[in-house]
C-alpha cells in the first residue's frame, strides 16, 4: 500500500512539474483530489483492511493528501507570481511622458496680499468691514475733514456721477461709516479692504482703479506709539521679520499728526540698493492719529476718544514684495502672470 502511496506522490510531483497555467493546475487538482481521482480510489480500498492496517494506511493517506495539497499550493504561488510578473511586464508604460494637466486655480496676487493682511489683523481682533464703492461726497470727503474746495481734494481727482455722488477715491469713507454706524460710540478696531478709483490715466505706476486697505482703531488712550507698534507687526508679517519702520510727518486732512511710514528695504536690508533708491527705506503707507474733526463728525467725543488710521495699498505691497514693475499687470490678468503666483510662497534667501 505504501508503495502505491509513494508512487502516486511521485506521479503528482511529476505532473505538477509540467504545469504552467492555472488551468492546468486546476485540472491536476481536480484529477488527483477529485471524488473519482486516484487518492479517493486508494481510500476506498481501506474498507477491506484490518483496524490496525486501517489506522496506518489512513494516516499515510492523510499525509499524502496534505503533501499533495502543499505541492499544489506551492505551484499556485509560483504560477501567480509568474502571472503577476507577466502582467507587470505587459503594463509597463513610459513614465517619462508628460503628465495630465491637473490644475489648481490661482488666487490673484492682489487677493493674496489682501488675504494675508486681513488674516493678520483679524488675528489681532480687528473686524473686516466694507462700504460702497459708489460713495457720497459727504463720506468720501466732508466727514473726513475735506470740505468742498479744500486744496487737498486736488490730489484725488475723482470720477463723479452727480455733484454729490462719486466713485470713492479711498477706503477711508468706510472709517466714517463705521464710526457713524456705531450708535453706542464704543471702541472700534476694523480694517476695510476694497476697490477705489481715481481719475488718472493708466500707466506703469497709475491705475484708474486700484485697491486699498484702511485700518482704524478708536479707543481711550490710543497713541502714536500704538500706531507704530501695530504697523511694525504689519511690516514684519508682510515684508519679513527683520524689517524696521520709521515715521515721517506728512499731511492728510483726516489725521493729525499725519505720518508717512517707511519700511527698511526688503531687498538690501537697509544698506541701500536700486529698489530703495539708495536710501535703505521704502515708503509703504500713510497713517496718522484720527483728526478730531473726523471723530466729531462721526459722533465721537475727541476729548474722550483718540484713534489711529492707516491706509495700505495692496498693489504697492505686491509690487514691492514680488518685484512687479507695472501696475497694469494686475488688471491684464495674463494667465502666465497669474499662475506664477499660484504656489506656496518661499522664504527670502
Amino acid at each position: 500500500m505504501n508503495e502505491k502511496i509513494n508512487s502516486l506522490k511521485q506521479e503528482v510531483e511529476q505532473k505538477l512539474k509540467s504545469v504552467s497555467t492555472m488551468k492546468e493546475l486546476n485540472e491536476v487538482k481536480t484529477f488527483y483530489l477529485g471524488k473519482k481521482g486516484p487518492i479517493s480510489a486508494l481510500s476506498s480500498m481501506m474498507k477491506d483492511l484490518s483496524v490496525e492496517e486501517k489506522r496506518e494506511f489512513g494516516s499515510a493517506l492523510n499525509k499524502l493528501k496534505q503533501e499533495v495539497n502543499l505541492m499544489m499550493e506551492e505551484v499556485r504561488i509560483r504560477l501567480e507570481e509568474e502571472e503577476l510578473n507577466r502582467r507587470l511586464e505587459k503594463e509597463k508604460i513610459d513614465v517619462t511622458l508628460p503628465s495630465t494637466s491637473v490644475h489648481f486655480g490661482s488666487v490673484h496676487p492682489l487677493t493674496q496680499v489682501i488675504d494675508e493682511i486681513e488674516e493678520l489683523f483679524v488675528s489681532m481682533g480687528y473686524d473686516v468691514v466694507e462700504g460702497p464703492e459708489v460713495e457720497t461726497d459727504l463720506y468720501n470727503f466732508e466727514k473726513l475733514n475735506l470740505p468742498k474746495g479744500h486744496p487737498a481734494r486736488d490730489a484725488q481727482d475723482s470720477f463723479y456721477i452727480t455733484e454729490e455722488l462719486l466713485l470713492r477715491t479711498q477706503t477711508s469713507p468706510v472709517q466714517a461709516r463705521t464710526m457713524d454706524a456705531n450708535t453706542e460710540k464704543t471702541p472700534i478696531r476694523v480694517i476695510c479692504p476694497g476697490k477705489v478709483y481715481r481719475r488718472d490715466d493708466d500707466d506703469a505706476t497709475h491705475s484708474h482703479q486700484f485697491t486699498q486697505i484702511e485700518g482704524l482703531v478708536i479707543d481711550k488712550d490710543i497713541s502714536l506709539a500704538d500706531l507704530k507698534g501695530t504697523l511694525e507687526v504689519f511690516a514684519r508679517k508682510v515684508f519679513g521679520e527683520d524689517r524696521e519702520i520709521r515715521l515721517r510727518p506728512s499731511f492728510f486732512p483726516f489725521t493729525e499728526p499725519s505720518l508717512e511710514v517707511d519700511v527698511s528695504c526688503m531687498k538690501c536690508g537697509g544698506k541701500g540698493c536700486s529698489v530703495c533708491k539708495g536710501t535703505g527705506w521704502i515708503e509703504i503707507l500713510g497713517s496718522g492719529m484720527v483728526h478730531p474733526n473726523v471723530l466729531r463728525a462721526c459722533g465721537y467725543d475727541p476729548e474722550k476718544y483718540t484713534g489711529f488710521a492707516f491706509g495700505i495699498g495692496p498693489e504697492r505691497v505686491a509690487m514691492l514684495k514680488y518685484g512687479i514693475s507695472d501696475i497694469r499687470a494686475f488688471y491684464t490678468n495674463d494667465k502666465r502672470f497669474l499662475e506664477d503666483f499660484n504656489r506656496v510662497k518661499g522664504s527670502e534667501e
Binding site: 478696531r189 506709539a225 500704538d226 501695530t230 486732512p253
Partner: protein
C-alpha cells in the same frame, strides 16, 4: 516750491550748511523734495580776458584768441561771432567738465592748438527757457570789471543749489522764502531776518491818484500803493538768478520785482499801469457773461463767482489769477499802481479751475498770512525805488477786515505725550515751541500763540504734530494698543466670497480682477433684470464711462487678450460687483462670474482631452451650489434665458424658485469662439438660509442596482424623466444617474433613448427583491405614462 540756498540765506543763515543734509532734515519735518541740484553743474570754469583776437587764416568763422586766465595767457580757437579783444569771458580750461559730462581737452582746430573753450550761457547747462537768443548764439560777455582768474560759476552765482520741495496741501506758509526760513530756522534753531522795506516817499499821496472801493465780501483785505517814474530795464544778475532758481523767467526789473516779493512773502502782488487803470479801483464780482482779455491775450468769459478788479468802465484784472491786457505794465509804463490783497480762497480756486492756474492763484487757494500783505506792498515799493528808480508815493489805500491777532491754543504736557505716546520732558516741549517761533504763556497748561503765518495750526493736535516734528518722530517706541481681547470677524459676504474663491480655485479656475468701468455700448450685454446705468459725469474715455452691470464682458475681454496670444484654453472667474440704480438707490450686487474655453483637462499626447462645454459649466455651477449647502434646492430652467447666451445652450439657475443667475454658451452673435460662462448673484445666494451640517449615518445595508432605458421624443428634456423617477422612487431610491443617451439606429429619428442606473438602499435593513421590483415597475409605469415614453428593450 524751489528753494535756492543763496535766496534762503537772506532770511536765515544757511550758507554754512550742507544743503543735502538740510533737505533730508526737511523730509523729516514733512517736506519731501523731488530734486536737489546746482543751477549749473559745470566745473573748471574761470573768468578770462580776451587779450588778442585775430581771424583764423584758414577758416571763415574761427578766431584765434589769446586769453588771459589769470595765471597764464593761452591760445583758444573760438567760433563765436561776438568774440573780440577786450571781452571778459567764461573760459572752460582743459579738464573742465560741462553739463552732459563733456570734458574739455586740448584740441587742434583747423590746424591750430586750442587750450580750452570760451562758453555761452547755454553751454553751462541752464534751462533754455531762462535764456535769451544771444545766450545761445554767442559766448557770454561778462561785465568788464569781472575779476580775471576767478571761478566763473561762482562769480555768476550759478553755484547756487536748489531744492525742489513737494509741499503738502496744508503748508501755505511754505510757499514763501520767509516760511521756508522759519521751517529751517526751527530745525537748526536759527533766527529769521526780514527784508528791508523802509523807503523814502514823496509828498504826493496815493489817494490823490486812485480811489478804492471794495464791493464784494470775498476780498477781506485790499491795499494799494503807487510808484511813479519807474525805469523799465533788465533786472540785475542776482534778481534774475533768484527767479531762475525759483523757476520763474525774468521779464524786466518791474515785473520781476512783483514776482520776487511774492516769492519772499508768499503774498501775490499785482502791478497795474496806473495811467491805463484810471482813477477808480473797484473790487467786485464779475457780471454774468462779463468779458475781459487777460494779459496772455485770451478773452475770458466770467460769471458772478469770479472776482475782478475793475475801473469805471470794465474789468481790468482777474483777481488773484491773472492781470488784464489793458492795464499791463509795458516797456513805456511810467507809473505803477501796486495791489496787495487777499481774496477768498474758494472763489480763487473755482476761477483758477475753470480759467487757469497761476503762481498767484495757487497761493491764494491755500491761504495768505494777513500780516504779510502790508509788508509785501512796502517791500515792493522799496525794491521799485532801489532797482527801478521809482518815486514812492506816500499813503496806502486800505480795505481791511482781517484779524491780525495770533491764535491761542492751550495745551498740557500730558495731552502732548498722550497723543504722541512718548515721554517728552517739559523743557524739550518748551524748546520745540520756541524754535518754531511760537511764544507761550503759563507753565503747563500752556497758552501757545500761533503766528498768523501758520494757517495750518489751529487745534491742539496741529500743535502736537509740530512739536513731534521738531522733537523727532523717530523717538516714538512702538507698542500694541491695550484694548479689549476679542476675536476679529469677517462680514457674511466676505466669508461667502472666500468660500466662492476656494471652490472655484479647487475646480481649477484662475481668479482675475478686471475694471469696473465699461462703455455704454457694452454695459447692457449679458445683463438680466438689472436697474439703470450709473454713468460718470467726467470719464477719462468712452471705454470707461459707466459702471458694469455684468462681469461677463470683462471676462470675455480677458479671453480675447489670451486668444490674441494663442492661449485659447482658459478657465477664469471673478468675484466682483454689478452696479446699477433703481430710482435713487445705488445698488452694488456681488457676483461670481466664470468663463471657460478650450481644453479643461488633457494629456497633451493623448486624444481624449476634456473640452469645456455646457455640461462642464453646469457641473461647476451645480458643484458650487452643493458646496454652499443648497443641494435639492436649485433648478436649471430654460425659461428667462439671457438674450446674450446661446438660446439652445444656456439656462437660468434658480434657487428656491428665485433666479440667481445663468450659465451657458456665449451667443454666437456676440463671439465667434465657443465660450462658456456663468454668472451668479452672491447676494441672492447668501440670502438663502442654509442649515448647519448634521451627521447622517451611512447605511450598513447592501444596495440594489437596476438599469432601465426609455425611448422618448427627441425634444423631451431628460430632467422630466428624472423628476418622475425620483418622485416615484421615493426614499429608497438613493441615486439615479444617466449612463447613456442614444440616438440613431434602432431608435426612430425623432426619438432618443436615455438609460438610467438606479440605486436602492434602506438606512435600517436589507431590501427584499420583491419590494425593489415593485418600486422599479412603478417607476417604469409612471415614466411611460407621464413622459410619453416607451421602455426600451434590452
Amino acid at each position: 516750491m524751489r528753494v535756492s540756498k543763496n535766496f534762503l540765506n537772506d532770511y536765515v543763515k544757511v550758507d554754512d550748511l550742507d544743503f543735502h543734509e538740510l533737505a533730508e532734515k526737511m523730509v523729516f519735518c514733512g517736506n519731501e523734495y523731488e530734486s536737489i541740484e546746482r543751477l549749473s553743474d559745470a566745473t573748471g570754469l574761470v573768468i578770462g580776458e580776451v587779450v588778442e583776437c585775430v581771424d583764423h587764416p584758414e577758416s571763415d568763422h574761427l578766431h584765434i584768441c589769446q586769453v588771459n586766465t589769470g595765471k597764464e595767457t593761452k591760445q583758444i580757437i573760438c567760433g563765436a561771432p561776438n568774440v573780440r579783444a577786450g571781452l571778459k569771458v567764461i573760459v572752460a580750461e582743459v579738464g573742465a567738465v560741462l553739463p552732459g559730462n563733456i570734458t574739455i581737452k586740448k584740441a587742434k582746430l583747423a590746424g591750430l592748438e586750442s587750450n580750452g573753450m570760451i562758453c555761452s550761457l547755454e553751454e553751462l547747462g541752464l534751462d533754455s527757457k531762462y535764456l535769451r537768443p544771444e545766450d545761445k548764439e554767442g559766448i557770454h560777455e561778462l561785465p568788464l570789471d569781472a575779476p580775471v582768474g576767478e571761478d566763473a560759476i561762482h562769480y555768476l552765482g550759478y553755484d547756487d543749489e536748489v531744492i525742489d520741495f513737494e509741499l503738502t496741501a496744508d503748508r501755505a506758509d511754505l510757499m514763501s522764502m520767509l516760511g521756508m526760513a522759519y521751517e529751517v530756522g526751527a530745525i537748526y534753531d536759527r533766527k529769521v531776518t526780514y527784508p528791508e522795506t523802509e523807503v523814502e516817499t514823496i509828498s504826493e499821496d496815493v489817494s490823490e491818484v486812485h480811489t478804492l472801493s471794495v464791493e464784494t465780501k470775498d476780498c477781506p483785505i485790499y491795499l494799494g500803493r503807487m510808484v511813479r517814474n519807474v525805469q523799465i530795464k533788465e533786472s540785475p544778475m542776482w534778481l534774475k538768478n533768484r527767479l531762475m532758481a525759483s523757476g520763474i523767467r525774468s521779464i524786466n526789473n518791474v515785473v520781476d520785482i512783483s514776482n520776487y516779493v511774492m516769492l519772499e512773502y508768499g503774498q501775490p502782488l499785482h502791478f497795474f499801469d496806473s495811467d491805463a487803470l484810471g482813477r477808480d479801483v473797484i473790487v467786485r464780482n464779475a457780471k454774468e457773461m462779463e468779458e475781459m482779455t487777460t494779459l496772455d491775450g485770451n478773452k475770458r468769459v466770467l460769471g458772478p463767482d469770479d472776482l475782478v478788479i475793475a475801473n469805471k468802465n470794465e474789468a481790468v484784472c482777474l483777481a488773484g489769477v491773472m492781470g488784464g491786457l489793458n492795464t499791463e505794465v509795458e516797456e513805456n509804463t511810467k507809473n505803477i499802481f501796486i495791489e496787495a490783497a487777499i481774496f477768498d480762497a474758494l472763489k480763487i480756486r473755482n476761477t483758477a479751475r475753470h480759467i487757469l492756474r497761476s503762481e498767484a492763484s495757487s497761493r491764494y487757494e491755500k491761504g495768505i498770512d494777513p500780516n504779510r500783505t502790508r509788508m509785501a506792498i512796502d517791500r515792493a515799493c522799496y525794491l521799485l525805488n532801489k532797482y527801478a528808480g521809482g518815486e514812492v508815493l506816500s499813503g496806502c489805500l486800505v480795505h481791511d477786515t482781517t484779524s491780525k491777532e495770533d491764535k491761542k491754543i492751550s495745551i498740557t504736557l500730558e495731552k502732548i505725550n498722550q497723543v504722541l505716546g512718548m515721554d517728552i520732558p517739559k523743557d524739550k516741549v518748551e524748546e520745540s515751541l520756541l524754535r518754531l517761533g511760537f511764544t507761550f504763556e503759563g507753565n503747563d497748561p500752556y497758552v501757545v500763540s500761533i503766528p498768523t503765518r501758520r494757517l495750518d495750526v489751529n487745534i491742539k493736535e496741529d500743535l502736537i504734530s509740530e512739536i513731534g516734528k521738531i522733537y523727532g518722530y523717530h523717538k516714538v517706541i512702538g507698542k500694541l494698543p491695550v484694548v479689549e481681547e476679542k476675536p476679529g470677524t469677517y462680514l457674511p459676504m466676505s466669508k461667502m466670497i472666500k468660500n466662492t474663491r476656494k471652490y472655484m480655485n479647487g475646480v481649477g479656475l484662475n481668479q482675475v480682477i478686471t475694471y469696473s468701468l465699461t462703455s455704454l455700448d457694452l454695459v447692457d450685454k449679458y445683463v438680466m433684470n438689472k436697474g439703470d446705468n450709473i454713468v460718470l459725469l467726467n470719464p477719462l474715455s468712452e471705454e470707461r464711462r459707466v459702471l458694469r452691470k455684468s462681469m461677463i464682458q470683462s471676462l470675455i475681454d480677458v479671453y480675447d487678450y489670451h486668444h490674441s496670444r494663442h492661449m485659447d484654453d482658459l478657465q477664469i472667474f471673478e468675484c466682483g460687483k454689478a452696479y446699477y440704480q433703481i430710482e435713487d438707490e445705488m445698488i452694488e450686487e456681488n457676483l461670481v462670474t466664470g468663463l471657460l474655453s478650450g481644453t479643461y483637462l488633457s494629456t497633451s499626447w493623448k486624444q481624449d482631452a476634456m473640452v469645456s462645454d455646457f455640461y462642464l459649466v453646469k457641473g461647476i455651477v451645480e458643484g458650487f451650489l452643493n458646496y454652499l449647502g443648497l443641494n435639492r434646492r436649485y433648478q436649471f430652467r430654460t425659461n428667462d434665458l439671457n438674450k446674450d447666451l446661446h438660446p439652445g445652450r444656456s439656462c437660468s439657475v434658480y434657487v428656491d424658485n428665485e433666479c440667481v443667475g445663468y450659465l451657458g454658451q456665449v451667443h454666437p452673435k456676440n463671439h465667434k469662439k465657443e465660450l462658456y460662462v456663468f454668472e451668479l448673484s452672491l447676494d441672492k445666494l447668501l440670502s438663502k438660509k442654509v442649515r448647519m451640517v448634521k451627521y447622517k449615518e451611512i447605511s450598513k445595508y447592501p444596495v440594489v442596482h437596476k438599469d432601465v432605458a426609455f425611448v422618448v421624443n427627441i425634444d423631451t428634456p431628460s430632467e422630466e424623466l428624472m423628476n418622475v423617477i425620483k418622485k416615484t422612487g421615493g426614499r429608497l431610491l438613493t441615486e439615479v444617474t444617466v449612463f447613456d443617451v442614444y440616438k440613431g439606429e434602432n431608435v426612430a429619428s425623432d426619438e432618443k433613448s436615455i438609460a438610467y442606473a438606479l440605486t436602492f438602499q434602506d438606512q435600517n435593513r436589507t431590501l427584499e427583491d420583491k419590494e425593489v421590483t415593485e418600486i422599479f415597475h412603478k417607476i417604469i409605469e409612471n415614466v411611460e405614462k407621464k413622459c410619453n415614453a416607451k421602455l426600451r428593450d434590452k
